[in-house]
C-alpha cells in the first residue's frame, strides 16, 4: 500500500515517536481485516470443535476469545498499543450487545416454537371447564385479562391524566410537591405488594379469602397510575408555553386552553405512554395471583369471585400441570405466546400512534 511508502519518508516520524503519540501516518491494518479475521477464526474454531464434538455455546465463547486476542495482538504489532486497545474495546462492546440479544431471541424462539402446537381454534373458543388432559383452551383467561386490564385502564387513565394536568398546569407549592414525591414512591412499589394492598383493602370489606376481578384491577391501577402520570407529565411539559400564551391572548379560558390546545398538541405522546402502560400491566402476574386467583370456567363478572387471566393461567398450567403433563404444558406455552403477542402488538401500536398523531409540519 502507498501508506507504507509514505511512512518511510514521513518527516514527522521522529517527532511522533519521541512524543510517544499515535503518528499521523503509520501502519494500519487494512479495512477488511476485522471481517476476514472473524471468518477465519470462526472457521478454524468451528473445525477444531466439531472434530472434538462440543456445544454451540462453547464454540461461540471460544471463537470470541480467540478473535479478540488475535485482533489485539495483530493491531498491537502493526498499529501500536493505543489503537489495539481501541479495537479490543470495540470487540468487547459489540460482543456485549450480541450477548444481550441472545435472551430476546431465545425467549421469542422458545415461546413461538412451543406455543404454536396449541395455537388453534379450540384454544380461543373454549375454557377449561371439565377438561382433564387434552383439549381445552384459554378463552376465559383471554376475556378475564381483557376485562381486568380494561377496568384498570378505565380507573388509572383519568386519574393519571388529571393528576399530570394538575402537576404541570395548576400545581405549585406543597400539595404538588407532595404528589410528585408520592408518585415517585408509587413507581417503586413491587407488583406483589400492590397485590397485597388490594387484597388487604378488599379483605376488610368482604372478609379474608376474598378473590375478585375488581380487586385485581385495583392492584393493577396502583401500578399503572404512576406510569401514566410520569409519561403524561413529560409530554405536557414539552408543549411550548408560547402556545398556551397564544391561546390566552385570544381570550380563551385556561381550562379550554388545556383541553383544546395543550392536550391535542401532546396527544401522540400521551397516547403512546398510556398504551405502553397498558402493555406493562397486562403481563403482570403476581398481583392477580393474590387477588383474583384462577378459575377453570368462564366468569365475566369482575365483582363475583375468581377469574382466569392469561398470565396466571400460564403460570399454573406450567407449574402444576397434573397428569398427563404434556397438554397442560402446551397450553401454558400457548398462553405465553398469546400474551407476548398482545403485549408486542400494543408496543407496535404505541409506535404507530406516536408516528401518526404527531403534529405535522407539511
Amino acid at each position: 500500500m502507498s501508506i507504507d511508502t509514505q511512512r518511510e519518508r514521513s518527516p514527522e516520524r521522529e517527532l511522533d515517536t519521541s512524543l510517544d503519540a499515535m503518528p499521523v501516518i503509520r501502519g494500519q491494518l487494512p479495512r477488511w481485516s476485522p471481517w476476514v479475521g472473524l471468518v477465519a477464526v470462526v472457521l478454524i474454531v468451528g473445525g477444531v470443535l466439531s472434530a472434538t464434538g462440543l456445544s454451540i455455546g462453547l464454540f461461540a465463547v471460544v471463537s470470541a476469545v480467540v478473535y479478540a486476542v488475535g485482533m489485539y495482538t495483530a493491531s498491537r504489532v502493526v498499529e501500536g498499543p493505543r489503537k489495539a486497545t481501541d479495537r479490543l474495546v470495540t470487540i468487547i462492546v459489540t460482543a456485549a450487545f450480541l450477548v444481550a440479544l441472545i435472551p430476546l431471541v431465545s425467549v421469542v424462539y422458545t415461546v413461538v416454537s412451543e406455543g404454536l402446537s396449541r395455537f388453534d381454534a379450540e384454544f380461543f373458543n373454549s375454557s377449561m371447564l371439565g377438561i382433564v388432559g387434552e383439549g381445552g383452551g384459554a378463552y376465559h383467561a383471554v376475556m378475564g385479562t381483557l376485562i381486568i386490564t380494561g377496568l384498570a385502564a378505565a380507573m388509572s387513565i383519568p386519574v393519571g391524566l388529571l393528576t399530570a394536568i394538575y402537576l404541570v398546569e395548576y400545581g405549585k407549592g406543597r400539595l404538588a410537591r407532595a404528589i410528585t414525591f408520592f408518585v415517585d414512591v408509587m413507581t417503586g412499589i413491587p407488583s406483589i405488594v400492590a397485590g397485597l394492598f388490594a387484597f388487604a383493602l378488599f379483605a376488610l370489606f368482604f372478609g379474608p379469602g376474598v378473590r375478585m376481578g375488581f380487586a385485581g384491577a385495583v392492584a393493577l391501577s396502583v401500578l399503572m397510575v404512576p406510569v401514566v402520570v410520569r409519561s403524561t407529565e413529560e409530554m405536557l411539559k414539552i408543549v411550548p408555553n408560547e402556545l398556551r400564551e397564544a391561546s390566552f391572548a385570544l381570550g380563551v379560558p385556561k381550562w379550554r386552553t388545556i383541553l383544546k390546545v395543550v392536550l391535542p398538541t401532546s396527544v401522540a405522546g400521551i397516547a403512546t405512554g398510556v398504551t405502553l402502560a397498558i402493555a406493562r400491566v397486562m403481563g403482570e402476574t403476581a398481583p392477580l395471583l393474590v387477588t383474583v386467583g384462577l378459575a377453570t370456567g368462564m366468569n365475566l363478572n369482575p365483582f363475583d369471585g375468581r377469574m382466569a387471566t392469561l398470565p396466571v393461567f400460564a403460570y399454573y398450567s406450567y407449574v402444576s400441570p397434573g397428569v398427563p403433563r404434556e397438554p397442560s404444558l402446551e397450553r401454558a406455552w400457548t398462553a405465553a405466546l398469546v400474551l407476548i403477542m398482545i403485549v408486542m402488538a400494543l408496543n407496535l401500536l404505541a409506535r404507530l400512534i406516536s408516528r401518526v398523531f404527531a403534529p405535522k409540519t407539511r
Binding site: E242, L243, E245, A246, S247, L250, V252, P359, K360, T361
Partner: protein, 259 residues
C-alpha cells in the same frame, strides 16, 4: 372599533420584584405607538400588563390603573379572559397552533371559545382576516395545510390574522419582526400601516428605524441598573422623540450613544 388606553401610576411586580415603576401614558385610538428601550427595561412586561397576560405568570401582579375607553381593566369583577378578547396580542416568535390547519388557526379564537358560526360566515371571516394580514394570496390554495409549514414571516402574519379574526379593539405586538428576515419585516410593517385604520396598535421594537417608520408616537423606557425597576422616561410624537427629545437619556439612546 379602536379604543384609547389610559395608564395611570402603574407598578408591575414579579412576586416582590418591582419590574416597572410608575408608568403614566395615554394611547390614542387608531394610532401606532412604539415602545423602545434597552433589553430588560420592562417593555414586554408593560405590554403584557395591558391585556392582563402578565398575571398568567405565577406571583405576577399589578398596581395602578389601565383604562380602556374609561373602563378600568383591573377593576373588581373584570374577567381577564374577556379583556384579552378585546385586546389582541402578537408575540415575538410566531406561534401558530401546530395541530391546526391554516384555516383553523385563523378561526382559533372562535373555535376555542366554542362560538357557533355558519360555515359561510367562517369562510368569510377567514378570507377577511387573511386579506387583512396580507396573507390571503399566498395561502388561499392551501388553507387545509398545517400552519406550521409556512415560512417564519408567513407564520407571523398568520398569527396577526388569528389575532384580528376575533375583532379586538387594540392590537399589542411584542417585537413581532425580531425573528424575521428583512423582506418579511417589510411586509409586516406595511401591514401595520394598514391595520391602524381599524385598530389601536402598540408595538415593542428594538429597531429604531422601525419605530421611526411605523409609529405615530414613541415611548422610551429605561432602567438605571440591574435590579432597579424600568421607567417610562418620556413619550411624545415619534418625530419629536427622534429629532429633539426632552431628555438627554432619550437622545443618547436614539442616536446610538447609549451605554
Amino acid at each position: 372599533m379602536a379604543k384609547s388606553i389610559d395608564v395611570a401610576n402603574l407598578d408591575i411586580y414579579y412576586g416582590s420584584f418591582l419590574a416597572v415603576h410608575d408608568v403614566t401614558m395615554t394611547i390614542k385610538p387608531q394610532t401606532v405607538t412604539a415602545l423602545i428601550g434597552p433589553s430588560g427595561c420592562g417593555k414586554s412586561t408593560f405590554l403584557r400588563s395591558i391585556n392582563r397576560m402578565h398575571e398568567v405568570i405565577p406571583g405576577a401582579r399589578v398596581e395602578g390603573r389601565i383604562e380602556l375607553d374609561g373602563l378600568n381593566l383591573y377593576g373588581p369583577g373584570v374577567d381577564p379572559v374577556a379583556v384579552r378578547r378585546q385586546i389582541g396580542m402578537v408575540f415575538q416568535r410566531p406561534n401558530p397552533f401546530p395541530t391546526m390547519s391554516i384555516y383553523d388557526n385563523v378561526i382559533a379564537g372562535m373555535r376555542l371559545n366554542n362560538k357557533k358560526m355558519k360555515k359561510a360566515a367562517l369562510d368569510d371571516l377567514v378570507e377577511r382576516s387573511l386579506r387583512g394580514a396580507n396573507l390571503w394570496n399566498e395561502v388561499k390554495d392551501r388553507l387545509e395545510k398545517p400552519g406550521s409549514g409556512l415560512s417564519g414571516g408567513q407564520q407571523q402574519r398568520l398569527c396577526i390574522a388569528r389575532a384580528i379574526a376575533v375583532q379586538p379593539d387594540v392590537l399589542l405586538m411584542d417585537e413581532p419582526c425580531s425573528a424575521l428576515d428583512p423582506i418579511s419585516t417589510l411586509a409586516i410593517e406595511d401591514l401595520i400601516n394598514e391595520l391602524k385604520n381599524d385598530y389601536t396598535i402598540v408595538i415593542v421594537t428594538h429597531n429604531m428605524q422601525q419605530a421611526a417608520r411605523v409609529s405615530d408616537f414613541t415611548g422610551f423606557f429605561n432602567i438605571e441598573g440591574t435590579g432597579k425597576p424600568g421607567k417610562l422616561v418620556e413619550m411624545d410624537d415619534t418625530k419629536t422623540i427622534f429629532s429633539q427629545p426632552a431628555q438627554q437619556a432619550t437622545e443618547d439612546y436614539v442616536s446610538g450613544r447609549f451605554g
